[in-house]
Symmetry: D2
Subunit: 138 residues, 4 copies
């Protein structure tokens, strides 16, 4: 499992050099990613921007999916629904815990709970779908 | 807890006499409801219709919410997102397990996993939001 | 166009004998369907139930899609997001106006505005996705 | 109308100094915003990132809402559903056309179609909801 996490973390760094998201763990149909919050993520009132949370959730889904279908750079997000639940803490890392609910032949569906590090209640919740390449192209 | 479940089950029966959904349990920010599948729920190919699943999820959210804010007939669904994951079994009850993620001053958000009874993998997943009445009207 | 509408209306009646939805028009990546509201659709307060609206939207999407890919009974709804906007009128037909935004190789996406007949403002809005069969199976 | 657009554009620049989104027009329950695509928005394959599109749509909704309720910095996004429809062009501005469907007492709902400049078909579609402050706080 540690090897899988490492390989996917390396792939994300190479493929998306501009991302600040870190891959913490890749498990059984699941993944945990996180990101330090910096100035560019903040919004008036000292909160973390919606797009920062959405981007984190998108990576969490992608990482969990790569853990299932292998490292193939062909999966694309087809939809994403986010509900903002609580104000994130400006001074804490944001964490995304993803659980895949389905990995089908052409479509994967997963959910991500987003947290400010150390907090019990989620700051946002995401459901996302990915279009996955046919098996012979993976 | 059993008393709360019973009181809410009675309310649902009175308020929605036409529903076939049964309230199985109301817990901490959570609820479990279920429904027998009959002819009117079926679709070609022996599957359970989307609207049947959506209606069940909607009741699950409503019941979990009543468990938190008390039996006040003023909460209304404002949005609902469903992802269909697997074909439900025509011959099995459908079950909805709801977990509320937020119960705020004016808005509640929850998710529901829907199952065919006895199956491990969900047949559908719902995220719904409810508008809740201000505290002085409850 | 009238022929296409008629053929699809006939197919819907055959395939879904229990539906009360009527196919009014099938156009360019679009469709209009409607339904009389009866006792079973009503909810306390004299409003039309959410599941009735969702079911109507689902048929609107399906009908618009059949208008594009031909009458093939293999397309299945993969997701549906509904926002409830206003209280529908208990005494008026509900109408669904669907516009497809994408008809791809494996996925179609469309939106549906739902109205109480004769009203200007929509009572609900739906975005739905359909998984469509590969071309050689249609 | 031009004055309203200008006032809101100025507010957005002040409140969100880091945004690159430009407010092009604010109309009747509607708004048009756009953004040049730069290196930081691109993804492998020469496409525009999902978070860039989501952020643009979020601003479009916010701007349209400010056009209705006045410039009050208290509205917050509560949910956002995006469907990705086509690959955006890396070399073109992205444009967001927002139409509000409801501006209620506590909740607003709108949709945004996102385009690559000069293209007919949308690259993505968003439905978003905003929680709006009670009238006496505006």
């Amino acid at each position: 499992m540690a090897d899988k996490t490492e390989a996917i973390a390396r792939f994300i760094k190479q493929e998306f050099p501009q991302t600040r998201v870190e891959v913490d763990a890749v498990g059984e149909r699941s993944a945990r990613v996180s990101q330090a919050v910096d100035e560019s993520d903040l919004r008036p009132g000292g909160t973390v921007s919606g797009p920062t949370l959405m981007a984190l959730a998108d990576v969490a889904l992608y990482v969990a999916l790569l853990g299932e279908i292998g490292i193939v750079p062909l999966a694309v997000t087809t939809s994403l629904t986010i509900n903002f639940l609580r104000k994130p803490e400006a001074s804490k890392r944001v964490i995304g815990e993803c659980q895949l609910m389905k990995v089908g032949k052409t479509l994967a569906v997963g959910e991500v709970s987003l947290y400010s590090e150390g907090m019990d209640d989620p700051v946002a919740h995401v459901v996302g779908t990915y279009s996955i390449p046919p098996a012979h192209l993976r």
